[in-house]
Structure formats: C-alpha cells, structure tokens
C-alpha cells in the first residue's frame, strides 16, 4: 500500500503513470490530457475561424465545417474543461481537507485512463468514410442519425466519457464525505471543495441521463426502435428535453468549480477573507438546484405551450439572483482589501468582469419573447463563449498560475504571465464581442458561409481568434519553462495565502497528510470565520 513508501515515487514510466493511484500524479495526467485536448479543440476552432474569415467558401466543404463545429464542442466540453477541473480536484481536494489521497485511488486511475480511449474513438471518426459526427454537439435527431457509421462511435465515446466523469464524481464525493481531517467540518471546507462537491452531485445526476439519451439514439439508428422518430410514433423534441435536462446542469458543471477557484484566489490577493462564505455555499447550491428546472429555455422555439414557456422563463430569470450574490460577494471581498495583481489575480478579475458580461446576455436570453430572435444566432455563440472561455477557461488558467508553484516547486515568470494575461484578455474580447453584433444583425450559428453584410465583424472575430489561439501556445511555453526550473517556491508561495495546501512544502511531496490527526484550522481560509 502507498503509505509504506512515504516519499518514494514509483520508478519507470509504466509504474509511475500508467499504474498510478496517487492523486497528485493522476491530477497531473488529467491536466496534461485536458491541455492536449484544449489545443486539439482549439485547432478546430482555428479552422472554423479561418473559413469564416471572409464570405465565400475558401478552405473547407460545408460538411467538414459542420464536423469541425461538432467536434470542437465535444472536445472542449468533455475533453478540455471537464477533465481540467477533475485534474484540479484530484490535486487540490485531498490537500485542502487534510486527506492522504482520494478515497478510491484505483478507481481514480481507471476514470482517467478511460478518457484517452474515449477520445481516440471519437477522433478516429475524422478519418473514416463519411467523416466525423456533423450534427452538432447537441446531437439532435433526426439529423445526427444521418451520420454514417460515426453514430456508433459517437455514442460509445459519450458512454465512456460519461463513465469516466461519473466515477470521478463518485470519488470526489466519497473523498469529501469520508476523508476530511477529523476537525474539518463541512463549513470549514474551502469554497473550491464545496463547489466541487456540488458539481459532483450534478454530474452523477445528469451524466447517466445523457448516457440513456444517446443509447436511445443508438437503438434508433441500428436496431429499428423509434424513440425519437415521429414516423414510428416517437418524438424528436423529447430528445431535446432529455438532452437539455443533462445539458443545462452540464453548463454549471463547467462553471461551478470556476467559482470555487476564483473564490480561493481573490481573498489571497486581496489579503482579506472571502466575503459571505456561507451565502457563497448557499448560492452554489441554489444555482445547482435551479439548473435542474430550467432546461427548456434552450428550446423556446420548438413550440411549447404558453404555460411551459412562461414557467421556464421565470425559473431561468431566477438564476440571476444566486449568481448575482456571488458576483457581489467577490466585489465585496476586494473592497477595502490590500490588493496586488499577480497573474492568477488578473485572470480572476477578468473572470469576474467577463463572466458577468456573459451573464448579462444570459438574462437577456431568458426573456422568451426576445429569445425567439436571439435563439440559434451568433448572439448565443457570443454568450456561451463568454461564460466558457473568459469564464471557465480563464478560471482554469488562473488556477494553473496560482497552484503551479505548489505543483512544480518553482515560481513562473510574472512578466511572462502578465504578457499572457493581457494578450489573452484583449484577444478574447476581439474574438467574441463582435459576435454579439453578428447575432443581433441576424447571422445564424453553425453556418460555414454568410451574407456579405456580416463580413467586417467576422473578420475581426477571426483575427481575435488567431491571436487568442497563439496566446495559449505561449502559455504552454510558460508552463514548461516553470516546471523545468525557475525561482524556488516557498511552502506558502503567496506569502500569507490561506489553505492547508500552503502548509506542505513546494513542490508538494508525493504523499501529504499521511498522518491521521487534527489540522490547524487557523491555516484554512474559512477555518475560523464561523
């Protein structure tokens, strides 16, 4: 068992990485994998922006364009953002609650190593006759069923991703519930741990539903069932209901851990406790609860009864309340603090502003009568990219800068980090802000070519896209450079940051908190506040 061999890492690639049951190594695997997928999905986005650079088709056929939009979304959602957060959870949750490792280390290994197979399966369709899935990541029937053999690959890949996420989520819950140091109560836990606990419950609740939905696609395609085929007595809109019953919580699965990350970083650099810790926890839980009862706001144009539309509109608008609480709390945390602006703080501040902008367009789209205009246009493309790129992905980048000293034992170059920040922040806005205008002016989403009136803003957006893509290649350079060497990081890399992870040396030894016993609550961010 692990704790016989305190600080000795297993030797050899196979033993160290393939067979690992160590939460830190598995966390690293997740993060590296997520980054590789981020670059892959990003490359597809570059193809999309290249084709949209000017009107007319110059580079790819429409069908390939659709394959790109579909694969870009699937890879970014299931391959980049979700695994990155699971990686952060693996690395940080045990260290934040004083646990020696995740509760179920062997299952942990399994849930990671499923992922490369899932994405190999999905990616292989690109090289097949008929190509990759091209029906959108939403996989609406009947369109998705027109894909040739890629339907089977798509469905099995989604199954594998689902199994991986469910096992990851089970592990997170089992760890948080059973492995806390004896004096760490639920309301002493850092907010990152809280948001992940809630996220994990969301995952367990909705990933099986997605698995069920895609299985029905599979049987419709190959075994003659008619779950979603109107001609056979089925209902294609029912798929949309099931998909979004998964899909709406899914978007919070991607954003709640970001809230957690930002709630760790802002207090550190404002040198002030997080404002309203308890209301943050309640707001997270409230958002999670609401996420289950608002799904049909993705479907205002399918022709629901008036009562249904009104209900989903009101319920959706309510989400603004707990989300607002979070944003106000972050601002109140900064208020009268003593702020410094290291790279993680910069990315967190940009997160608060730009995520809020994404939230604003979200409130606008909640209004069903206007959503009949916004729906399926570039306005919504702008909206969800604002909450996912300068939202979730900025939070992941902030987390990487924040904890990189703990992981690698080295400080990154602050100068390069700041260049990366400004480069990313400016380009991401050039990339996505004009898309609001395109959508309002009437450009539908998921089209490879457009009317000439949309030319200027598309070109602007593409230029922003290329610049943003390049900035993330620069990020690889910064991270690799930091891992290889640099100024030695202190145990508490930020001087007086709160959190148990800062009580262990940097880089964190292979095994931490092996000894069972109470931890010093004064060292925790919220240990003594309540």
């Amino acid at each position: 068992m692990g704790h016989d061999s305190h600080d000795h890492k297993p030797k050899g690639f196979v033993n160290r990485w393939l067979m690992t049951t160590n939460h830190k190594d598995i966390g690293t695997l997740y993060l590296v994998f997520a980054f590789a997928m981020f670059i892959t999905g990003g490359a597809m986005a570059m193809i999309i922006r290249l084709e949209l650079f000017q009107p007319g088709l110059q580079f790819v056929e429409p069908d390939f364009f659709n394959q790109m939009t579909t694969m870009h979304a699937l890879i970014m959602v299931f391959g980049a953002v979700m695994p990155a957060f699971v990686g952060l959870a693996n690395w940080m949750i045990p260290m934040m609650i004083g646990a020696p490792d995740m509760a179920l280390p062997r299952m942990n290994n399994w849930s990671f190593w499923i992922l490369p197979f899932a994405f190999a399966l999905l990616g292989s369709t690109l090289f097949m006759d008929g190509g990759a899935p091209a029906g959108g990541w939403t996989m609406y029937p009947p369109l998705v069923l027109q894909g040739g053999k890629n339907v089977a690959y798509l469905v099995f890949a989604v199954h594998l991703m689902g199994i991986s996420s469910i096992m990851g989520a089970i592990n997170v819950i089992a760890t948080i519930m059973n492995m806390r140091a004896p004096n760490v109560g639920y309301l002493n836990m850092p907010l990152f741990v809280w948001t992940w606990l809630i996220t994990a419950f969301l995952l367990i609740a909705v990933m099986p539903v997605l698995a069920g939905a895609v299985t029905m696609l599979l049987t419709d395609r190959y075994f003659g069932t008619s779950f979603f085929n109107a001609a056979g007595g089925g209902d294609p809109v029912l798929f949309q209901h099931i998909f979004w019953f998964f899909g709406h919580p899914e978007v919070y699965i991607m954003i709640l851990p970001s809230f957690g990350v930002v709630s760790e970083i802002i207090p550190t650099f404002a040198r002030k406790p997080l404002f309203g810790y308890v209301s943050m926890v309640y707001a997270t839980a409230g958002i999670a609860f609401l996420s289950f009862i608002v799904w049909a706001h993705h479907m205002f144009s399918v022709g629901m009864p008036l009562g249904g539309e009104l209900y989903f509109m009101y319920a959706t608008m309510m989400i603004a309340v707990p989300t607002g609480v979070k944003i106000f709390n972050w601002v109140a945390t900064m208020w009268k603090g003593a702020m410094t602006f290291e790279t993680p703080m910069l990315f967190s501040l940009a997160f608060v502003v730009l995520f809020t902008i994404g939230g604003f367009s979200g409130v606008m789209m909640a209004l069903a009568p206007v959503d009949l205009q916004y729906h399926d246009t570039y306005f919504i493309v702008a909206h969800f990219h604002y909450v996912l790129v300068p939202g979730a992905i900025f939070a992941i980048i902030a987390a990487a800068y924040y904890w990189l000293p703990k992981w690698s034992g080295h400080m990154y170059s602050e100068r390069l980090g700041k260049i990366h920040f400004w480069w990313s922040t400016i380009s991401v806005n050039v990339l996505f802000f004009p898309q609001h205008f395109l959508g309002l002016a009437g450009m539908p989403r998921r089209i490879p070519d457009y009317s000439t009136q949309f030319a200027e803003f598309n070109m602007m957006s593409s230029i922003g896209g290329f610049a943003f893509g390049l900035a993330q290649v620069f990020f690889i350079y910064i991270v690799v450079k930091t891992v290889r060497g640099g100024k030695k990081a202190e145990a508490n890399a930020w001087g007086d940051a709160k959190g148990l992870e800062w009580t262990v040396p940097s880089p964190a030894p292979h095994h931490t908190f092996d000894e069972f016993g109470p931890v010093d609550l004064k060292k925790m961010a919220h240990g003594e506040v309540h």
């Binding site: 002030k272 008036l306 601002v331 009268k336 206007v370 009949l372 205009q373 002016a441």
Partner: protein, 382 residues
C-alpha cells in the same frame, strides 16, 4: 410612464447606434415590420439598459476598489467577512428588477402564443404551410390550394461553391436570395403552420420578430401581421446538415391589390402547368426543362456533373438506378428515400418537372439509359 421610459431609452440607443454603425451592417436587433418585432425590440432594449446600469455599478465598484484598495498604496486590509444587511439587499434588489422585466415579457409572450383581438382569439385571414426540406422550403397557400418550392438562387449557389472564383460581393443578396420567394399581403393576419420532411429546420425572418422550428411529424403554429410592403430576408436557424447555411427564407410583401394580382397570375400558371402534363413533350423540351430543374433542385447533393458526394449523396453518373428501368427511377423520385436527404418529390414538384429532370439525368453525365420519360408516365405512376 413606463412606456415613455422605454421610448426614451430606445431613442437614445437609436441615436447612439446610428452614429457608430453605417447602414451597411447592423449591430443591433432590428425593429422589424410587425407589431411583435417591435415588442421584442423594446424588450431587448429594456433588458440591455438594465444590464448596462448594473454593469456600470458593479464594474465601477470593482474599478474603484482596484484603484483605491491596493497594497502598493500602503492600505491595511480590513478583515470583515460578511454583512447580513448587504447580502439581503443584493438578493432582494435583483428580484425586484427581474420582476419588472418579467411583466412586459409575459405580455409579449402571450401576444405571440395566444393572440387576441378585443378579448377574443384573433381571427386569422389566411394560412401558409411551411415545410422544411434538406435544403429548401416549400410554401403552401392552404386556402388557395397551391404551393411551390423555394431554394437558394442560382447566382448565390454558383458563387458559394468552394473556390468558385466568384466574389460574394458581386452577387446581389449573397446567400439571402431564392428562386421564388414567399409572397404575402400586407396588413393581414397570417397563420403559419410549420413542419418538416426530413430533419428539424427553423423558419426565421428577423423582421417579423420570431423563429419557429419546423419539426418532422409535428405541426407548429405561429402568426404575423406585416405592416409594410417590402422584401424581407432570413435564414434557416436550426442546424440541418451540410447546406444548413444555404437555405434562405425570402418573403415578398405586397399591397393587398398587388397580392390579388399575383395570386390570379399564379393560378393561371398552375392551370397551364397542369394542362402540359397531358401533352407529349419533345426530347429537347424535356432536356432544357430538365437541366433547369436539376440545377435548382438536385444539384446540391448530386452535383452539377452527377458525381454526388459519396457515401452520403450517391452519384447519378453510372448509377444503376438511373441506367435501369425508367419506372423504378420515377418511383424513387416520387417517394424519396426515408432517413436520407432524398425527399419524396411527388408532392413537391409537378409531373412536368419530375419527368424532365429524370429524362435529363438519363441522358447526361455519360449515362446511357437514353430515352424519354413523359409527364404523363409520371402521373400514371403516382
């Protein structure tokens, strides 16, 4: 008073927008030409300004804090960590703001879904059935008993081929033009019934203020009443396969008199077309008409040279069906192939069009079947 506020806000924005945007490309939602589109626009502007005000307050507070509360200024961080009053205030105030927005939104939605006139359900003057196909629209004038297909115009279709050499800027209304637009009268309550034949589409004219999905096997309802004659352009809004970007919606709105003229002219043409089914066509006539039909209706999938895009869209050049018995090919075209983009053209095109297109394919692309299919043959197989 609320209305006046909205008007003021709208006017201010309009002023702002006209200064920053040229007429060439819009950056804001269109006001459109229906009562509903105006309502949607007002709703949009209200929500927009609410967001602007909240944004200014929140980001302003943040900016102030970033400037004033920084370590480099030597400030000592305070250590407060909650304030019940503040937290209650910023929970209650958003709820109030949301309620204020929900009220007009509810009224607008009722206007769309349950339109009433003087307290009674609104009376609809005419009904258009819209059917989505991969990748064209069919419009049926239910009361008049006729209808037609509406596909991307040939100019646009030519220019949009990869490396076509045609600059999109040189094509009028690139990608937003069709061979035959939907023609509607002004100031008329028009009911739309929307459905689809293959996959889900979504019918959208921004100037009317709404889009609605066209779903195979289901019939959706929507309505409009257009205030100004003109040509209004939109696009399919729901991903529907390879040519989703190339199935525009074009609506030509005429005055009531012009519409009546147009209607009688259409009926005359329909009668003429029906009479032509019975006559025996020459091969030249069939080939000429066939090429025209093929290039409009068949070309996106089967391609101009008949090579198709295998495996999804089979080649016609050298195809066993096209070179086999004529009756089998007619049956296939009439009934389509379920689960694929091949629609049942029996209900979409006239016998004349079908016979001509089939004759054209059997005598082109190096196919050796030869011979002619007469419209009357098609009629007999229907």
């Amino acid at each position: 008073m609320k209305k006046a506020q909205i008007k003021l806000v709208t006017m201010l924005t309009a002023l702002m927008l006209t200064t920053v945007s040229s007429a060439e490309y819009g950056i804001n939602l269109r006001k459109g030409v229906t009562d509903y589109s105006q309502t949607a626009y007002d709703m949009h502007m209200l929500a927009f300004w609410v967001c602007v005000v909240i944004g200014v307050l929140v980001f302003g507070a943040m900016l102030y804090s970033i400037i004033a509360h920084r370590k480099s200024k030597g400030v000592k961080p305070e250590q407060f960590s909650h304030s019940t009053t503040a937290e209650i205030v910023w929970t209650i105030i958003p709820i109030i703001i949301l309620a204020v927005m929900a009220w007009p939104a509810t009224k607008a939605l009722i206007k769309m879904e349950n339109p009433t006139e003087n307290g009674k359900p609104m009376k609809m003057d005419m009904t258009i059935k819209v059917t989505g196909y991969q990748w064209k629209w069919r419009y049926d004038y239910l009361e008049e008993g006729f209808g037609f297909l509406s596909t991307l115009s040939k100019d646009s279709n030519l220019a949009r081929q990869i490396n076509s050499g045609v600059k999109p800027e040189t094509v009028d209304n690139y990608l937003l033009d069709v061979d035959k637009p939907l023609v509607l009268p002004v100031d008329t309550n028009i009911r739309f019934l929307l459905t689809a034949d293959d996959v889900i589409h979504s019918w959208w004219v921004p100037d009317f203020g709404w889009k609605r999905d066209a779903i195979p096997g289901f019939i959706n309802e929507a309505w409009t009443n257009i205030k100004e004659p003109g040509i209004y352009r939109g696009q399919c809004a729901e991903l529907c396969g390879k040519d989703h970007g190339f199935m525009p919606v074009v609506v030509e709105v005429l005055s009531k008199e012009d519409y009546a003229d147009w209607l009688s002219q259409q009926k005359g043409e329909q009668a003429e077309e029906a009479a032509m089914v019975e006559k025996t066509w020459t091969k030249e006539e069939l080939m000429a008409r066939g090429e025209e039909v093929y290039m409009q209706q068949c070309v996106t999938c089967h391609q101009a040279d008949g090579t198709g895009i295998p495996p999804t869209f089979p080649a016609l050049a050298g195809s066993a069906v096209v070179n086999g018995a004529a009756a089998d090919q007619v049956q296939l075209v009439l009934n389509g192939k379920p689960g694929t983009a091949m629609a049942a053209f029996g209900s979409l095109l006239s016998e004349n069009d079908i016979a001509a297109a089939i004759t054209y394919t059997r005598n082109s692309f190096g196919n050796t079947a030869g011979g002619m299919v007469q419209p009357v043959d098609v009629k007999n197989l229907k």
